[in-house]
Subunit: 425 residues, 2 copies
């Protein structure tokens, strides 16, 4: 069977299974999730062995440390996969929820019902835990899933897939509700993203290159996450007690996450007051500052070491460093801050620090990003912190789902009509 | 300036204008809408003259009657465009609405804010009234619009565009918030659907061919409406008093609309009881029946004229006739009906006629269409009937918006965080 035939068959099976999981009871879905967790715990040794064989191959292939890190599954990692599935079982079932029912002048009652999207294709890279997470989230939201993990994790993903299938079967659900692609041929991805008859939406998880490639070629809607060039804007009415903690947490709590601040904007009126202390805090943590001419002078005069200071270029305003580097710019005030952010931001997460009500509300409304915050760290942009229970990813798209995507983002709402024999006049 | 440069400029202007209309007050948007309406009334003579010149060209080009019909603007049509804009002004403003705010254990309060999508590209065919409608809906929802009407309506669309611009200017809003493309070169469409940096979503309105072409080539999300192959299923527990009115209204109230029923399914248990009367009603109205073998016998025995009866082929189950033709099939019951609909329906609108609670609720949940109804005519699937006030179209997509799309469908929700200096632990 060639790749095209194989993927068509996978798609057909997923479509058929999607009807069954869409109609499945909450109880059956939860039993399957708990059974998957039990299977994963029971097969810890097999999962670790499969991961070991992936790791051996990765070392032979000379993959870099970061990749090997992401690929590595530990006993603790196995346990947290199992717990993740149990947490998903504990979340409320979004499917079938009826809302907003209103009686119309014609007599009909019209409302919404939350329904699964159908078949979700998930394309990801090395991390094997995504296989269990994504399977769990798709199932709980009533969707069938086609998972395509990285070729580096093939053995481990297949071992996890076996646990998932066993869990489904034990609850009387079709094993084809979650299919993990068994080939490492990259053509499989090309097929997966071009079968609108079988796949309703694609969620790519991984580096920007992967996501851009998929978005470009997909013939199916893509829920995507590109850069996280997040901003903190220190307004001239900022509360001094909040400035340093928010900048410090937003930039330095973790450097490699998408909700980490990459640019600091500060109103001219408070630059002399706040920048020296911010600069010293950042320099102490080893963060390099790429500063505009004006802020560079202030930071230099504050005695920040030369090796931590650099003149920013236009490119710096766009940059997602994912590293101990931050761009720093002095702006006239709220208008300039909003314009700068709407020009350079990746529309992920941006925060203002201000005590002024009107400016705070304008920032919330006018900054066109998926998460906009007042007096809080950008690091809060996260499905768990927002109370979603779990997240399949963070969307920087504007339609369907913005920001952290949980179970609800894997569903949509259809219209339902309760009639009593009404006809249209 | 070549087409590419021209469209890039239009896109750039739209993006800039979108920031201003997103932040515009409800009052300014409503004043602009009322001013547009006043302009349209004041320029009735110019609009009709421009339409006359389009019609003259259309006759010279030998366009068919249906097309000329859609292209024709009357004094009454001008008035109803103006009234349409006034109705949009009267609708609640969806932009900025805050909902679902919850306090999290970290102390932050997280919620949603409804926000415009940004720039909406609308591609449509002959009807000039779409120019005013679409301009009004996009403005009220805080979006900038790029409108690309049919080349047949060029003069009339430009005359309407002048009224729209004057209305925007009188309320202090940028004239570039609504741009009507001034070239008839089809390359403009190709550019419009391939500028994700300037356009956030495309809404094509027109024939299936247009929509399929656009969806295939778009590099931007498309809110699309394909077929309306709608079903009425008569369950074996249907109330006899509801059967004929619902079938009659669903099929025969209008033949050319997308929410018209194209297929009738009937449970075997009641086929003998209901089909003869249904068949006579349909035949009296001149509707041809494409019937399965079993129903053909019943209809034949009921004395329906031979020229109204035909044996259905597999293709008939897929067909959107938009004509006095209906496919008729006897099914075993609710399961077979749901399976048939989920196999052949275009996922637009499907209805069940039944007094059985559990079957009604299963139909609502398991039929995967944008509108699902119990004991009501499929003809109710419509923005006005659903209480949206106005509609930009009906979506048969599954993500973002399903079914009739009003102001809300032209917006999305971002996350907002109200903090008090919180940082992530």
């Amino acid at each position: 069977m060639d790749i095209k035939q194989y993927m068509q068959q996978v798609g057909k099976q997923a479509r058929a299974a999607s009807r069954l999981v869409a109609a499945a009871s909450t109880d059956a879905k939860n039993r399957a999730l708990l059974a998957m967790a039990a299977q994963i715990r029971a097969h810890q040794a097999e999962l670790l062995a499969a991961n070991e064989s992936d790791l051996a191959q990765a070392r032979t292939d000379g993959l870099d440390t970061a990749m090997i890190d992401r690929l590595t599954l530990t006993a603790k990692g196995v346990e947290s996969m199992a717990q993740g599935l149990e947490q998903i079982a504990a979340l409320p079932d979004p499917v079938g929820e009826i809302s907003n029912v209103k009686r119309r002048p014609s007599g009909i009652q019209v409302g919404h019902m939350r329904v699964p999207l159908g078949v979700i294709g998930i394309i990801y890279e090395a991390r094997p835990n995504v296989t269990a997470d994504a399977a769990g989230l798709c199932l709980k939201s009533g969707n069938a899933a086609i998972l395509r993990g990285g070729k580096e994790a093939l053995h481990c993903n297949q071992a996890i897939a076996a646990c998932v299938r066993a869990g489904l079967a034990s609850a009387g659900l079709p094993e084809t509700a979650v299919q993990v692609i068994e080939t490492i041929d990259r053509a499989a991805v090309g097929e997966l993203i071009a079968m609108p008859q079988y796949v309703d939406v694609i969620v790519p998880r991984g580096g920007k290159g992967l996501i851009e490639r998929i978005s470009k070629d997909a013939r199916v809607p893509v829920i995507k996450h590109l850069d996280g060039n997040c901003h903190v804007y220190i307004d001239d009415e900022a509360d001094a007690a909040k400035v340093i903690p928010i900048v410090e947490n937003s930039k330095t709590q973790r450097y490699g996450t998408c909700n980490t601040a990459e640019s600091l904007l500060i109103a001219r009126g408070v630059a002399q007051r706040f920048l020296p202390a911010i600069g010293r805090m950042l320099a102490d943590k080893g963060v390099e500052m790429r500063a505009c001419e004006e802020s560079l002078v202030i930071l230099h005069d504050a005695g920040i070491a030369q090796d931590k200071l650099k003149l920013a270029t236009e490119q710096d305003w766009f940059e997602e460093y994912l590293a101990p580097i931050i761009a720093v710019k002095i702006v006239d005030g709220i208008d300039a801050a909003i314009t700068h952010i709407n020009t350079y931001s990746s529309q992920h997460t941006d925060a203002i620090v201000s005590e002024n009500y009107t400016k705070a509300m304008r920032f919330l409304r006018e900054v066109d990003s998926s998460s906009v915050m007042v007096n809080a760290s950008t690091r809060f942009a996260d499905g768990f912190e927002y109370g979603l229970g779990a997240e399949i990813g963070i969307s920087t798209d504007k339609i369907h789902a913005r920001g952290p995507v949980g179970l609800e983002g894997l569903t949509s709402q259809k219209w339902i009509v309760f009639g009593n024999g009404e006809i249209r006049k």
